[in-house]
Each structure stands twice: as structure tokens, then as C-alpha cells.
């Protein structure tokens, strides 16, 4: 897979969060903390699995800090750095 830009990764994550939460992607802001979007433990792990399958990154085992997960934007930056 060609290396995606952080913006592309962010858009991909927004689309996936919209699928997981069954909402319109336009309602999802990349700067909102994930928990305020309605993400819970179950949907969060669904997102981690999607990230592993799409970006080949096993985040559950990586040295992520809390801040990396705070928003879709920060998560996209982390994935961009790691992939």
C-alpha cells in the first residue's frame, strides 16, 4: 500500500468511525475526543482492529500514550508517523 498522508488517514478514520457508530460522517469532527463521539470499549476495539487491518499497525501492543488516542486527528498523526 502507498504511504497515505495524515489527512488521508484522518479521512479514512472518520469514515470508519461513522460506520462503527452508524452515523453520517459529516457529523464527526476529527478534533473531538473519541469518547464524546459515542465510542466505548467495544467500538474502540473495533477501531483498533480496523487500524490493524488497514494500516498494519497493532496499536493494542504498541507504546501509545493516552494523548495519541485523544482525537481522530492525533490518532491519524500517530499512524502516519508509525506507518
Amino acid at each position: 500500500m502507498n504511504k497515505m498522508s495524515a489527512a488521508d488517514i484522518e479521512e479514512t478514520l472518520i469514515q470508519e468511525v461513522a460506520v462503527i457508530l452508524a452515523v453520517d460522517s459529516s457529523t464527526i469532527s476529527s478534533s473531538d475526543p473519541l469518547h464524546t463521539l459515542g465510542i466505548d470499549s467495544f467500538s474502540f476495539v473495533e477501531l483498533l482492529v480496523f487500524i490493524e487491518k488497514t494500516f498494519n499497525l497493532k496499536l493494542i501492543e504498541s507504546g501509545l500514550t493516552k494523548e495519541d488516542f485523544q482525537t481522530i486527528h492525533l490518532l491519524a498523526l500517530y499512524i502516519s508517523r508509525m506507518s
Binding site: I20, L21, A22, V23, P33, L34, H35, T36, L37, G38, I39, D40, S41, F42, S43, F44, V45, E46, L48, V49, E52, K53, I60, L64, K66, F69, Q70
Partner: protein, 457 residues
Amino acid sequence: MKRYLTGIDWIIHAINHINKKKTGAGNMFQIVLQMEGALDETILRECLNKFVKKFPVLNGRSMRDYNLAPYWKIYSKEKMLPPNVRTYRLDDNAAFSKVLSTLEQGINKSFNSVREHLAFHLIYAGKTSFLAVVFDHCLFDARGAEVFLNMLQQEQKNETDYSNRISLAESAHLCKWKEKFEAGKWVNRKLLQLSENKSRFLPLHSVSEKKFRFKIISLDERQTSAIIDTAYNEAGYLMFMPYTLAISIQVLHSIFTKRDICTGDYIVPVSIDTRPVEKVAQEVFFNHMSFFLIRVKANEADSFPVLLQSIKQQIYDQIKSNLPADIEKASLLMRIVPLPILGYLMRLPLKGQIASFCFSYTGEAAYNSPMFMEKKINNIFHMPRVPIPPGLGIFFSRFQGKLNVTFSYLDGMLENEEIDSVVHTLQSRLGTHPDPLLGREGTFAPSLSREGGRGMS
């Protein structure tokens, strides 16, 4: 009118059948609203009588269609039975233990007929009233029942009819057989894997009582916020559910160990809500859930970080392999099986047992108003009867940022000192004072917690 039952609905029916056979009362669930002041009984009865008439589904019963798919027969509105509301008046200074024992009477009382699935118990205790909503799990899951109460509150306040937004549509699911059998293959493999080692259970043979007993631990907002922070640091972002499951396993691990039940693994089914956030208000009736099947080795249960890591990894692997979705699909195949046989089949993989104990974390309550019929709600907590076996469960829920823990057990299963030990250890692990049970002076304030949304039920 009919509504086809899903495979998960049919499994809940089988559990209901087992519980009825063992205790005389089915797989019932009770949601308790603790309110400031005396809830007006007349207003409650009037509102309920008006409200329930809009939902003939409440008085339905399960039947089998000509195509052999089980369905819920919905009778006409004219044949609706009025809701059963029972009132109890306790002393003004009644202790919470007295309230709890009255609540236990309600949840242990079977419904009067096969078409009754909902009952209300109103308890007055001084300046506090408790409204216990007892429901048949075949009709609602916990989240659905909370949404139902929410609609009742909204209609009472706004006089807007919310009943027309409810969806009762469900196909007979008599297609895509290959997909269902494929899912069944994976679920079967998982069950075989779970049954490879011996599993740990508390014996039920000595139980002569047929009632469920409960302990409720209620945290205030500050305590809840503190434990969520701790979970955040120890388990990671949005990992509160695995954290509470790890605590629950360790708490019961000490009971098993003291009883010298020292061989085998812990098997814990964890129910999860499969409704997307947007659908919660529409999919009110019946069961919208699936399960993780968590297996923990005793040496993992000894170390909290190891236990936590094991649970997180299993949840991750099961979502990755689509196990919850496969369980939903595979269970559709089981609908052909009559309930007594299904109950037997469910206990086959673990040689007569189903689980070491039951667990759920339902997240923030779907009931989202601070008031109920003009009365301020101080708390909402859950009191579920647990499938037998195992007859034992720990359940976490939250209302307005306050965490509640319910310990549910079949009377006679545990010694008094074991029950005290579970309660004290839970309190200690959750950072609460070892005071007796529920904080009755709790006040409403906006949630400060991090994890919201549909939670896991």
C-alpha cells in the same frame, strides 16, 4: 401481528425456561429509580395505563410460525392487560437493607400469566421513593427498558407520542444458510476451545432457596471519576469495561480459592450491546446483544496486570475474528430447537455448566432525564436475575456519571462471610468507603466521566 425472534432472543427464551424450571420465576430484570420525595401513585398509574396501551407488544407471547421460525405474537390493543403496580410503604427511617429486601421480593415474584412481562413496584421510604420496573428479559434488554422509561417520561412531560418511532420489524431470517452455518462452525470451534480445560464453578447442588439476593454498591461522581481515571491509567483509554471485568474476576477468584476450588479456568460470557448509538431509540423491544466469551486461567487471575492484558487481548482477538457477529448469526440456527432441549444443549460444552459467573457493563444509562414524573432522580441501578447455572453475577452500570455495581447471587450459594468479602473487596477495589451499600443522599450533577455512548450491556 407478529415479530420474528432472533437467535439471541431464542437463547434468552431458553434461559428464561431454565430459570422458571429451577426457581419458578424466569429470566427477569429489575431497573430501580431512586427518587427524592414521594412519587404520586395516582399520576403513575394514570400515565402507565395510558402509555402501555400504545404498545400491544408488551402483552405478547412466543409462538412458532408455519415456517417453524419462532415469533412474538402481538395481540390487539383491545386485549391489553393493565400494568400491575404494587405499592409498599416502609418506615420513614427504614434502612436501605429493608428497601433492598422489598426490592428482592419484587424481582423474585413470577409474572401472573404468560402474557405479562412488565410490572412496577413503588416503594415509599421516608423522603425517598423507589420505582422498581420488573421486566421479562424476553421482552427487553436493559438498555431497551431504560429507553422505554425515557419515552414514558418524555410523553408525560411533552405529551408527544413517541411510540411511532419504534421499530418492530424483524425478518424470519430463513435465508443465507451458508453464512449461518459458516458462523456456526467458528462458534463451535470457540466453544470446543473453551471446553478443552476444566472450568471453575461454584456448586449449586446445596442451594435449597430459589430466590436471588442482591448487594448494591453505589459510587458518587467523585469516586466514579477517580476509578475511571485509575482504569484509564492502568488499562488504557476507553478500557473501563475490561478493567471492571478484571476486578470482578479477582474478587470472585478469592472466593473460589478459599473454597479450595483450585483447578480449571474461569469462563465468563460478557454481553455487549449490538445497537449502534443512533438505533437505540428505535430498537427498544427484544434483545439486541451478543457476547464475548472470556476464559481466564487461575495464574492469570493472580496478577492484575496479566489478567487485564489477557482480557484486552481476548476482546481484541474476538472482535477481529468477528465472534460476536458469528454468535448472532449462528444462534439463528438454534431457533429450530425446542426450549428444553436448547437449555440442555447450551450446557453441553461445559459439561452441565454455562459459565463461572455472568458479567456486564452497560455504560451510561439510556434513561437521560434527571427527573421522573416531576421527581428528581438520585440514582438508577440494575437488579438482574442471573441464568442458572451459574446463578452468580457482577454487573456495572452508570447513571449521570455515578457508577453502580450489583452483585447478584442465588440465595444459599454463598456463606454470609463470603458475601461480605465480595462486597468489601469490590468497595476497596473501587475506592469507596466500606459503608453499607447505597449512598442515599447522592445528588444529580452532569457526568464528568470519559466513557460514554452505548456501553456494553
